[in-house]
Structures are given as structure tokens and as C-alpha cells.
Amino acid sequence: MYYTPEMLESMKRVEETREARLTQELELLDPLEKVELLETFHPDYLEEIFRKLKVGPSKGEMTPHEFADLFEAYSAIDPYKFDLSQIDYDVDVLVVGGGGAGAAAALVAQEGGAKVLISTKLRMGDANTMMAQGGIQGADKSNDSPPIHYLDVMGGGRYFNDPDLVEILVRDAPEVLAWLEKLGVMFDKEADGTMIAIHGGGTSRKRMHAARDYTGGEIMKTLRDEVNNRGVEVVEFAPVYELLTDGDKVTGAVLYNMETQNYLVVRAKTTILATGGAGRLHVAGFPTTNHYGATADGLVLGYRAGVPLAFMDTIQYHPTGAAYPEQLLGQLVTEKVRGLGGQLVNSKGDRFIYELETRDCEAAAIIRECKERGNGVKTPSGYQAVWLDGPVIEARHGAGTIKKRLPAMYRQYQRFEIDMAATPILVYPTQHYQNGGLKIDGTTETTTTNLYAAGEVAGGIHGRNRLMGNSLLDVVVFGRRAGEAAAGRAASIKKPGKLTLEHLKTFHDELKDAGIRRERVSPMLLPDYRRPETVRKRLEVPV
């Protein structure tokens, strides 16, 4: 791999300090230092990247411009002219999204006797769940307990979390791990079956369970396999483009077949939004770790149907996104690297923060190191970054540890002729997770009747900062809860609801009154990475 002389020089210093760093102990930040670090350097405190929402149930609340642009936008559907007379699918439960939460919800809803349909924008399993590497939390060891887990989650979220939702998260965790184990998820285990668990940022017990560094992938592949085995109906490449209501309650949805450009009408007694996150909005220009389809669609749909937002003024930037080589820009370097003892080191070869602080603090500390202290390493394309030293892991846990415990990471860098076990890599924060989302109650129901939300699209569980390993947990815990609740409700609904776009008429009126231009349309469905000059010369013709 090519390195500039400046990079090589700095790399040499990292090597020189390695031995001393092996035994160096860094203090945890005290609460005051934490607040100061965040308020000065975390992007959540950059006023210019936010604005107040002009319309909708959370009018007046702050959210990044990229989100506001989607909330303050019209549907491509004209609610006055749209023909809903032909129903293509008539089901009990519609699950919107084919990731971890959607799959878990569908399985449990079907077990509850419901006829289920999964609609997904890309393929079943194309989701951030598939990409989650590091692990899944759950207090299952004798020195740990759900209450200890609870305290870690609340502290990590800076006490803004919804206590009821956190209780559910930590209480359901052991059962969820057992459910996954029984389905055949290949967790890392000792010979006697004991789960191998390590620390994550902000954990007080080692409760990060993993499947090497393909934890989310392993869970997603298993859940998808089970969805297929049990014959749950799935429509791929057909995202929900709009929800349908009877004017009050959600009664179904309009799907858009992206390959044929047709639409399909679904009548559903209950609907679960499990559409995931929003990294592809690239808030404030940050690169992202997220999946191609992470475009906040479910947030937009739910918002139009009257669901208020929680904590949409906070985004999680993963502290260690790949900064070099350019081809990997923004991609996840799992926190498990630090969980195993990997160290953050500046251009001078010095550590500057204890590596297992919560993600918000780690990200802020890296930004401070680069922006304020001038201790960043400049990459050939001009980005600033800091080192993440992998070789200390090998020194601590033995040669070959990285290849064995972090095969995905190791391979990722090998493709660019970088040996993570022998040389440090360059990292910088990257947009990773939507801390907030649609408001839900303990059953995952939103304020709009018969509409549920689970996984990253829902907000409140993680407060203002999520801990590593609590997202994989969240999608399965709340996905299952949503499936159970939505199936239960569906069973009690005898007469299917009327299908209308009344809520959209109201929302469009509100947009018009707020003076929002008709050209602004959402949901986004997919990001556009073509060059502007290509897009400018686009010609749409009927063929």
C-alpha cells in the first residue's frame, strides 16, 4: 500500500511507542470532562447542521438538514387521484423492511397465527444488521445482571433513554440470546458451551457476545433462512412508498416495485415499520458505515402518518470509520478491535483517550485530536485521521489473534495489501447510527393506532448515544415484541379497514401552508452516487 513520507514517519513513531503503550493505563473521563469534550467537539453540538422542523407532529424540533429535507417534502403520490381500488395483498400483518427487526417480527407474528407479508426495498437481509460486526449484548454471566446492563445503557445514553424501553431491552436480552442460539446462530463459545464475551465501549461487564466479526451477518443469515423455511411471504425490491389509513388508523400500504415501476396495494390489519437507519443521508457530509438502502424511509412514512419523533437531533458517529485507503472511506472498523485491546494513537505515537469510553466521547476525542490539537495524520486525499494500532492486540493476546477474532476486518485490509496485525490503520468518525426515531411504547406501537415500529427506525431506547452491541440486541428484542403485539392486535380486528390517503392530504396541506416547494419529494429510497454532470444530462423519455 502507498503511504506518504509523512504517514511513514508517523507510523514509525507508533511502532516506537508500542511497547511502552502496552502497559500504559489511561483514566476514564470524569462526568465534567465528558460534557466539555462533547459540547466542544461532537457534531451533535454544531448548530449549523440542524434546523427546526416546519411541519408535522414534531414541528419546532431540531433535526439535521438532511432529515428535515425529507420530512418537509411531498409524496410522489397525489392523494386526490390515486387509485386504490385493486387490492394486491390482503394480510394480517405487514412488515416493512427485511433486516433483523423485520425478520424477527415476521417470524414471531407468524408464530402468533398471523398471515404475514414482508416488503423490502432490496433483497431480504440487505440491511445494517447484516453489517454489524462486533457483537450483541446480554447479561447472562454470573457476575452480570439485567440491572447492571440497565445502568450501562442509561449512562451511555446520558440518562435521556426511555426507562421502560431500556428495561425491556435488558430484561429480554438473555431470552433473545437463547432464541438465537436455538435457531442455530454460531456464537463464539468455549468447548463447554460458555459464551465468549468481551468488553465494548461503556460496558462494565464483559457481555459482548460475538460470532467472530460477522455477528450481525450470522444472525441475519439465520433469521432469513428461517423466514424462508417457514414460508413467510416476502416481496423484494418493493419498498413501501406510502402508508394507507382510514383517516385515523393505519390500514395498509402502497408498495412500489422498483423493477417494473408498478405499484401494489396492501391491506393489512397491522403494520410494522422496520426500515432501519439513515446513514446514506450523509449528515454534514460525513461518510457512512451504513447499507445502501439506509435512507430514513420509514421515518418519513411514519411521520406523515402522525407519529412524533424522539431524539432526532442526535446521530451516532462511529469513532473508527476507515479513513485510508480512500476506497474504504467511512466503512466500519469494528469496535471489537478496541474491545480486544487495539489502541487509538495520534500522529506523534501517543494515546489520547481511554479506548473504551462511549462512542460519542471517542468520536469527539478523535475530532479534537485532528481539528484542535493538530495531531492528525494527513492522508493523500487530504483527510485527517488517527491511527488504530492493531499490533498491540497481537502483542497482548498472541500472534494470529486478529486473523482469528477479526477475520472480516483482516480480510478487508488484506485486499489493499495492508496487514492489520503488523501495521496500524487510519480511522476517523463516520455516520453510523440514528440514535433517535419514531416514538414507540413498550409494545412498539406508535401513537398512530395499528402502526408499530422496531429497530433503528424507532427512538428512545438508546437516549442520546447507543452502546456497541445494543443495536443487534434492540432489533431482535423489539422486532420480536412488535411481531407479537401486531399479530395479537390483528387477531382482534374483525373487519379490515378502509384504505385511503386522507393523512397524506392533510400533510400536503400543511406543507403548502408552510410554503414548502412542490419539487421536494420523499421518501428517498436510494442514494444517488452518480456524478452531477451525469445527473444534469438526464433525459426521461417514455419508452
Partner: protein, 227 residues
């Protein structure tokens, strides 16, 4: 960043693209907007399996479009979907044996041991080795060897015996994890404790606490040693 250009042929059609791009980014540069053939963009989902050939070389090579760099005079096509055979089963009722493999995927026993699958794997998995292990009934080995599989389907696309290796691999991992790996006893115990309400009172107390009290408790946590 250099702006050295390369000519790539996407399904036979030439485009000039910067040399330092992955196939996926090069196709976007050329004006493609993906619906199929693009997923996680980080080698976790297997949506972008690609077959290519370079100039003056008859050999077909494979890679993931999100990981593989373009080369000058590269002829490529994505294979966004592969219709390989996939069995349906109830994992609870299966035994982790070669009989199970024979019953669900009899085509595995047609394996010619030609190793073409292994050469086609963008994850450098010993595909033929795990298929051989599966047919011998060594499910644990098949599960271990295939662990990093992304189910991209490139192995199956090249297999003369028409085996859908990646589906066999997934079955083996589930068989291993469900029926061979010992259950986590501490987990079973904890599930029972939670169900019996062992932590109810403590959780209820924590939920009642105001932020100040919680913060005090949080600051006083004892952190499990990392050794």
C-alpha cells in the same frame, strides 16, 4: 488522488473511469444507479458478485464489485442473483449427519473435487474442502471453514456439479450451532432467573431513580477487569 483513467467494459460496453475506483464506484461514475447488484458496499452481504476478464487473458475471474479495483481493459458483468437450489427444513428435526446433507442436498454427492468453487470465492474460503467435509458428515468442519461465506453465489455459478455450496454451508452452520455446539448453561440459567422475577425489584428501583442518583451509581460502577 491521481486521475489516471482506465477503460472498463460493463457488459461489453466501454466506459472511461478513474483507475483508483472499485468496480461499484466506477459503474456509478459511468452513470449507473444501482437497484440490484449493490448492498452493503462493504463485503458483508454478497449482493455484488462480479465476473470479469482482463485483456489477453482467457481466464474468468471473480470478485465483489464493492471491493475489487478496476483494471484497464477489464471486461465485467455483475451476477446480482443466482437461482441455486435451496432446501427448506425444520432445523429442530434434523441431525447433524451426512444423511441430512444427502437428503436435503443430494447434489453435494456429485462433487467432482475440481476445486473451481474455491477459486471462485471472493472471501478465499476453502469451498471444496467444506463441501467434502459436509458429505463426509464432518458438519463441525464444514461450519468452521464456511463461516465467512456471504452467500454471493459465485461458487455455484462456476460449479460443474450444479451444487449450491453457500446454501449447504448455511445449513451446516445452523446444524453445528443447534445440534453439536454445547448449549450455554449460564444463559439457560439466566433466562429462568429473569422469568422467575429475580431482577424485578432491582430494575423497578433503578427505573424510579432520578438522573442525579443514576449518575452517581454509574460513576461508582466497578468495571470488570480485562484480563
Amino acid at each position: 488522488m491521481s486521475q489516471e483513467m482506465a477503460t472498463i467494459y460493463v457488459m461489453g460496453k466501454p466506459y472511461e473511469v478513474p483507475k483508483d475506483l472499485t468496480i461499484m464506484k466506477a459503474m456509478e461514475y459511468a452513470g449507473y444507479r444501482f437497484v440490484r447488484g449493490c448492498g452493503c458496499r462493504g463485503a458483508f452481504c454478497g449482493a455484488c458478485g462480479t465476473v470479469y476478464r482482463t485483456k489477453d487473458d482467457y481466464r474468468l475471474k471473480v470478485g465483489l464489485a464493492c471491493q475489487e479495483m478496476v483494471q484497464d481493459e477489464m471486461y465485467l458483468s455483475e451476477i446480482p442473483f443466482f437461482p441455486a437450489n435451496r432446501a427448506t427444513y425444520d432445523i429442530e428435526e434434523l441431525a447433524p449427519t451426512s444423511e441430512t446433507i444427502l437428503k436435503l442436498y443430494p447434489e453435494v454427492f456429485r462433487c467432482l473435487a475440481c476445486n473451481t468453487c474455491t477459486k471462485a470465492c471472493p472471501q478465499d474460503i476453502e469451498v471444496m474442502e467444506y463441501i467434502q467435509a459436509a458429505l463426509r458428515g464432518d458438519i463441525a468442519k464444514a461450519a468452521d471453514l464456511s463461516f465467512d461465506c456471504l452467500l454471493c453465489g459465485l461458487c455455484a455459478s462456476r460449479c460443474p456439479a450444479e451444487i449450491g455450496q453457500y446454501n449447504v454451508a448455511l445449513l451446516c452452520r445452523r446444524l453445528y450451532a443447534r445440534h453439536i455446539a454445547p448449549k450455554a448453561k449460564h444463559l439457560e440459567k439466566r433466562v429462568k432467573e429473569v422469568a422467575k422475577g429475580k431482577f424485578d425489584e432491582e430494575l423497578a428501583d433503578l427505573k424510579k431513580m432520578d438522573q442525579k442518583k443514576l449518575a452517581k451509581l454509574y460513576a461508582a460502577r466497578d468495571i470488570e477487569s480485562d484480563d
